[in-house]
Symmetry: C2
Subunit: 258 residues, 2 copies
């Protein structure tokens, strides 16, 4: 039996979903919880790594119990809740085919990035958004929207990839890239693509901040992309504003949560 | 010089704004920070107590430095940020007259109460909303709206006051009482009144939950109010869903935040 789990987590306490470094990974905690839910060792595979401090609203991971154990998918969120800490939750689950892979079967993902640019430090936004000052004006927001629109399309995004990344093919298709302001609150950057390079969203956000603050022009984005030079893009925005929001699959996944 | 501060705080770590019991009060932390901002002892007075674990989005408190120290009101949020922990922030400030009192000058307050009734435990809602299961249907939400509308008006709210409260005049005027659902998220109860009795909002919410789940009918509310019997109202909802949202003053307060 193979299950897919949809997971929310606050990434603050973790070194990412998967990690080699010191620290606790979400994957470790989820694997331990799965072994208690299914009462046997389980293989947990994620749809992606996420960086330390990055959050997830709809991370997907598969769980394969080593024994023939069957639990109705709709009951898994409750079963996991008993063994997961407060900052990780299974929000839905489904059965998937044996050859389903949460990463390789994925057709794309949506990330959101939240920026708090209010005049004060907001306690409710601590570790849940990036802090940007001074506040972004209405015209600054329009500049960000226009800059973001240039990300859409199939491009070599080498300029938006962390240096030292081992990826050789940096061509990705961005399907949508939008900037809007939550009701009176954070600026949100929402981006969907068939795949993302290492730090791609965070470098996009760093560049959008440059545009918001006049250090770059919206219409410089196409040139930055074409230049394929990391040093021409903005700095890497901090992890705490980033949320893996949704993973797209061709398969019709029958999500259950009773 | 007398200042009024507008404050946001996450109440989870505190025993309330003001407390006699063991534990740290927001007032203690704010008084200590004020003494460091103004470099002298300061008197900090709040607009109300709040219960342990209750949050604030727009709490008001006055600060009176014991020495003649003048700091521009618009700079106070930054000055306090240097000395306040991450879960408390000054969001704006203003100068007020010597006879201004944050509690007695107040003409009313607005509280909101957030209820998370989704099918799973949401990590991002932990300690920031009340958990209610099973989920409230659309018709359940309509029942809550109708029940809440009966709170509006001038009534003796003894039935919605914690037992043991020493208040003798329990007549309050509720100006608005609305229930709505945040976009795909929490149910919110927003209530404005000229004053609130001890645990009044939390008992209203407990009663609204009874209505949502069919243990009481919306049109029983007028009878419960008239009965002035605490035992006929619902249980006291937990503190973590409650937010002091806004304090109303007749004075035109010149809020500044630069």
């Amino acid at each position: 039996m193979k299950y897919i789990l949809k997971i929310k987590y606050i990434g603050t306490a973790y070194c990412g979903f998967q990690c080699q470094k010191n620290g606790t990974a979400v994957q470790n905690v989820l694997t331990e919880a799965a072994s208690r839910v299914f009462k046997c060792p389980c293989l947990v595979t994620g749809c992606s790594r996420t960086d330390s401090g990055v959050h997830a609203l709809g991370f997907c991971a598969t769980v394969e119990p080593s024994e023939m154990v069957s639990i109705p998918a709709g009951k898994l969120h409750r079963a996991f809740a008993a063994f997961l800490p407060d900052d990780i939750a299974v929000v839905a689950a489904a059965e998937v085919a044996e050859d389903f892979h949460p990463r390789y079967s994925s057709k794309g993902k949506n990330y959101i990035y939240r920026i708090w640019d209010g005049p004060y430090e907001d306690p409710f936004e601590k570790k849940r958004s990036m802090r940007l000052t001074p506040a972004v004006s209405h015209s600054g927001l329009d500049r960000m929207k226009r800059a973001a629109s240039h990300f859409v399309g199939t491009h070599d995004f080498s300029a938006f990839m962390a240096k030292g990344s081992k990826i050789t093919d940096a061509v990705r298709t961005v399907r949508s890239a939008e900037v809007y302001r939550e009701n009176g609150g954070c600026i949100v950057f929402s981006v969907s693509a068939d795949g993302f390079l290492y730090n791609m969203v965070r470098i996009m956000v760093g560049t959008l901040c440059d545009v918001a603050q006049g250090r770059a022009e919206p219409d410089e984005i196409p040139g930055i992309i074409k230049g394929r030079d990391r040093s021409r893009a903005g700095s890497t925005a901090p992890p705490e504003g980033l949320y893996l929001n949704e993973v797209f699959y061709d398969e019709n996944i029958d999500w259950k949560c009773e």
